[in-house]
Symmetry: C2
Subunit: 347 residues, 2 copies
Amino acid sequence: MTVVRAPSVKDVARRAGVSLGTVSNVLNRPETVRVSTRSKVEQAIAELGFVRSEPARTLRAGSSRMIAYLALDLANPFFADIGRGIEEVARENQLGLFLCSSNNEEAREVEYLSLIMQQRLHGLLVTAIDYESETLHKLLKRGLPVVFVDRTPGTLRHRCSVGVDDIEGGDLAVSHLIDNGHRAVAFVGGPIAIPQVTDRLAGSRQAIETAGLEADVLTVFETTALNVAEGRRAGARLLGQPKRRRPTAVFCANDLLALGVLQEMTLQGISVPEEVAIVGYDDIEFAAAAAIPLTSVRQPRHLLGKAAAELLIEEALLGSTHEHRQVQYTPELIVRASSRRRSRRVS
Amino acid sequence: MTVVRAPSVKDVARRAGVSLGTVSNVLNRPETVRVSTRSKVEQAIAELGFVRSEPARTLRAGSSRMIAYLALDLANPFFADIGRGIEEVARENQLGLFLCSSNNEEAREVEYLSLIMQQRLHGLLVTAIDYESETLHKLLKRGLPVVFVDRTPGTLRHRCSVGVDDIEGGDLAVSHLIDNGHRAVAFVGGPIAIPQVTDRLAGSRQAIETAGLEADVLTVFETTALNVAEGRRAGARLLGQPKRRRPTAVFCANDLLALGVLQEMTLQGISVPEEVAIVGYDDIEFAAAAAIPLTSVRQPRHLLGKAAAELLIEEALLGSTHEHRQVQYTPELIVRASSRRRSRRVS
DNA sequence: AAATGCTCGTGAAATGTTTCACAAGTCGAC
DNA sequence: GTCGACTTGTGAAACATTTCACGAGCATTT
């Protein structure tokens, strides 16, 4: 298996007995070249197995036909689903999609951003950790079309973004628990500094206030990350509480945490939802698939991805006439067994 | 925010008052240029915010510093984890990683392969659907370094690949069930044509034979895909069996199926593992996190990714002197609650 | 038969980088 | 003060593509 230099337009031109410009015309404006010439060229292309060099096209054009989605963690199905939505739209628009995962590490995020800059990509969709990084701002200054996904950074609030109303989501979850008679609710999530966590917590408090209850109905258990292991730890901490102060319901800032809590409860022989009700957030596929199906706040993930990609394409095409827009979706509560009603109450 | 043309080496050279070649030297062979000149250039680079154009470098070099991983479905944590392993090695070797998901669609796979060819990538890691596609063979003929991940195609058996011994995995799972006294075992998986499914089924049969049991101990329930929904359907079909013929244990070809089966059992009030024991495959994070933690055959996913990437890099660096290798790992059975022992038996 | 207008095709220029043969400058040795 | 050796910097060429002004050839009109 010898390495063959990839044939170029020049090779095709020579073989077809035409000029190099004509080959380019066949490729880009086939209607401007006579049928007989065109087929000669097409045959030469087929015979040589010619494939256009994307780097050369990009160099010439100044920017590539690729966009990137830089996510926090592609192993989290939430982001993977957003990625699918993006991919769909990118495909429809003949754009390649470059998926990157920063794995929640700032260093990796910066590395990817600088890779994206080097690649002269056409646009960027990003859920970032650090919205103030020099690299990100350099990209923006260069005029790269950017759409922020799921997190809207304070100082860049005017730029294009898509998100879900997390305050509303938190409100939905906790209102549901209150309606079901719970008067001691735990909020599990963190780090609190993450905007989503802040908002979901704010929504929870709003629900309690609206119901005319005291603020101390809600106890906050902060975690260091939003994954299953942290959920398990939070569950253990929760069970460590003196029985009379132990919450009868838990609202988790995402489903991974909720699954962790659920697992810890099952392990410790606490029955769900009888002794402790659980509500998650994101409604990932595994939430419904849990043996005790999880009540969760569903985000239109796929739609989120599609909307973000469409926004990006609009920005990339319209250029300077483009007006930045913030698209906000409303979450939906999916009630399942993990928070089944325990007592009635006139609402 | 105006769009600024990205500065080039030429701009840097002008600003620093040196020739263009010198800038290139600073970038690529800093030790060959006098310190005073070097710092002038470095200052100019910083002032202009110069970023190398990767397309131009690629054009010049003939191939890019990027490799691709084309997976079957990145939303499946199994592949996402492999991706992480690959990413780690790629990063260590200063290579960019281009993640693609064919979503189990042949058309998408072909599209991505042709995108990869156009991009003049440095190498390809792939878990493909169609190993006989023209596009794939064109890539191979061009001499592109390729490593097959998790599935080794028949006709390309001599090429580099990494995988896990799926026959052994199937054997492990079913031997465990037999040891636990089960004498009516269901195999859930499909399409049977998928090599992994074939192998895991073969392993199951091997276990039964080794135990000296009749082949009809095993009933096969073929599915059309390896996801949760199909698992649920298989679970329902299973429960539709006349009671005396109903299997007391289920071995699923992957964890998604197993979670689906588990969910259907819980829904129908069948207790796991008392009435039906379940064993999955892959040991994804959600297997352990299920409310009834799932027994599963663990594959060293992360390691698989790392090994594949290392193989690819070796192939890319050594070129023609490289000898193709097939790396095979051994799976491990992780026993959890879903298959807890029901009766004893001297083994 | 000259002029006009059209259809097709041409070839040079430009994109940003790297490499490489070579030139210019410096220094020491004879 | 000339030669060689070494250090440092130069600039042209090459990579594959696209674009664009232009020219050749031909048919139609005057």
